[in-house]
Subunit: 358 residues, 2 copies
């Protein structure tokens, strides 16, 4: 095991959004400083970071200076350009490691990896042009979703096909990007497991939460989920299998479909995850601190759940609800400091404590 | 009522220690930025503040620029020089207000205020020279403690008198500062109430915690305390009386001695308080967010207690315990990022969850 990072050490965070912001806060709780690297101006994480570098991921000098200031580097999103990682990797440890990024940056690679572990996914096929879309449709069937292989999130870069006739429009939606056709899964509901693994190989998972999406964006996560005890165990063991296979260090979000035939993996995210925000008010150690503990070479913390919680995202105009939400009992607001409200933009979330557990 | 501060607004904090650090974190949770004003270099709060001004409290230009950048100003300690407050007050609202500072900056003024409200304090007398110490000893008796009227904290600027013979040494310890002689109170134990009041005049108090000191510094706070239901009600009502009398806005710590004759006020602190750190892991809304809500013109949050907690300070070499504490279940560490360990220096604290409440 590497040494435990000590008070005053600096954790570098690639990406300065709300996840980086909440990671910075968790790092401060353990006595660490953060240095955020973000191309965009005025990122939410800058408000609580010790240092901020504003530079594109192509700026080798800025990346080098960033690495020199950090003891370890982590990230809040998986779509970091490979060239930037190539430059940083010889300079400082990157946690979670490159293998997790390589796999999660490409939907085909990710599904191949998961099925290779013996886990089930939706039926899928690679689509590189209009002709291969026809072949994929023949194999996968309709309804189906065509998605870009890379750089997709929150429903962006996706197109639904209800019939084979939809193929030309769907392919046009990809704008020439290599894609994956995924068959629909007939599922009861979706859950996600927030799992963590540290440099010792210890694994800890939070109680799975049940997710409801709206317009392709996470709307609520509820704990406990409706999972039976058996399925909950399956979900946790499957997550541990993924973490171990990647020699993973950090927190990962694993989205699962619950079907009559058991659990199907929807996708994995090598980072803290929106569906884990409930842990801020449901656990002694939340997902952000758990991630920081892991990447800092610390023991994992106690992630056992002490309350039933419903997390609800505040998207765009939901910010108008803040004055009312601020008055409600058993309600914790978490706002991201984004001055400009945009439709579909994640502005904050609210954790409602339903009952405290004895 | 003033307007609720909105996402992106800036809260100025005078003082950059651990209280300012945890106030900054709480402010970020509600979408605010903080600007910390602190004379010393590398203050703990700088790690999580959006801006930091490093300047003495005598620097009028720096104070003016600081005020211009802030929407409202608060502070993490009560001993801010009056001249700095005189300069800031016309520029931006200072919360809690000047009256709370005027009273808590001088132990005689504070005790006069409390007794004026009909509350009980230790017997006390002003001491301005060796002769008035003799008169005070005659009135108050021994054992007693001589304290400087101003700028004392954590047992600093204090001298015990076990007999009248101790008077010359005790007076010498004051180094010429005006002082107060306080009689000993024969108490069972000490509790403190963390109370909050907002711009609407709403008052909310946390469950009183029971404090144990070691070497004049808070060692542990335990909730629940041993207070009977009646005394708990007395403690909360007395705190509300103080808050209302001052038209107070923010969080205040009220230290109380529990005696056979009821509650005696030890001292008040017009700020978040070390004995309220347990709220970080025992309540949905902790004392830091409650303070930020109040000074930002927000409704107060839900401060009801959902767990039994023991808070323990990590002082000086206690930092050696961190690797072990990091492994313990139901244990939340809070470190302040202070690189240099010194004897008697508050380096962090730990909140242990004893049982979650149903």
């Amino acid at each position: 095991m590497s040494e435990m990072l000590k008070t005053g050490a600096t954790i570098g965070i690639l990406g300065g959004g709300q996840l980086g912001r909440m990671l910075s806060v968790a790092a401060s709780r353990l006595g660490f400083r953060t240095h955020v690297f973000e191309p965009g101006a005025h990122p939410p994480a800058a408000d609580v970071a010790h240092r901020v570098t504003t530079a594109p991921y192509e700026d080798a000098a800025a990346l080098g200076a960033f690495a020199a200031d950090c003891d370890v580097i982590t990230y809040e999103f998986e779509n970091i350009p490979t060239a930037a990682l190539d430059l940083l990797e010889p300079l400082r440890p990157i946690r979670p490691g490159r293998e997790a990024l390589r796999i999660s940056q490409d939907r085909i690679t990710e599904k191949d990896f998961l099925t290779g572990l013996g886990l089930r996914t939706a039926p899928y096929a690679a689509v590189d042009d209009a002709a291969s879309l026809d072949a994929a449709l023949a194999a996968v069937g309709v309804p189906a979703i065509l998605k870009t292989r890379r750089f997709g999130y929150d429903g962006k870069g996706q197109s639904r096909l209800m019939a084979a006739d939809d193929a030309p429009r769907a392919w046009a939606d990809m704008a020439g990007s290599p894609a994956i056709l995924e068959g629909f899964v007939d599922f009861h509901y979706e859950v996600s497991v927030i799992g963590a693994r540290n440099t010792l190989g210890d694994v800890s998972c939070y109680d799975p939460g049940e997710n409801v999406h709206r317009d392709g964006i996470l709307h609520t996560t509820t704990v406990p989920s409706r999972l039976s005890a058996n399925l909950r165990m399956d979900a946790v063991l499957l997550t541990a299998k993924i973490l171990n296979a990647l020699d993973y260090v950090g927190v990962m979000g694993v989205e699962l479909f619950v079907t009559p035939q058991g659990l199907i993996v929807n996708e994995i995210a090598p980072r803290v995850h929106n569906s884990g925000h409930w842990t801020q008010n449901g656990c002694v150690i939340d997902q952000f601190e758990q991630h920081i503990r892991a990447v800092a070479g610390w023991p994992l913390g106690d992630g056992s759940r002490h309350a039933d919680v419903v997390m609800e995202n505040l998207i765009g105009d939901d910010m108008d609800l803040v004055p009312d939400l601020a008055k409600q009992r058993a309600t914790a607001l978490h706002l991201y400091g984004k001055a400009e409200v945009k439709a579909g933009r994640k502005m904050g979330h609210v954790n409602r404590i339903i009952t405290a557990k004895p």
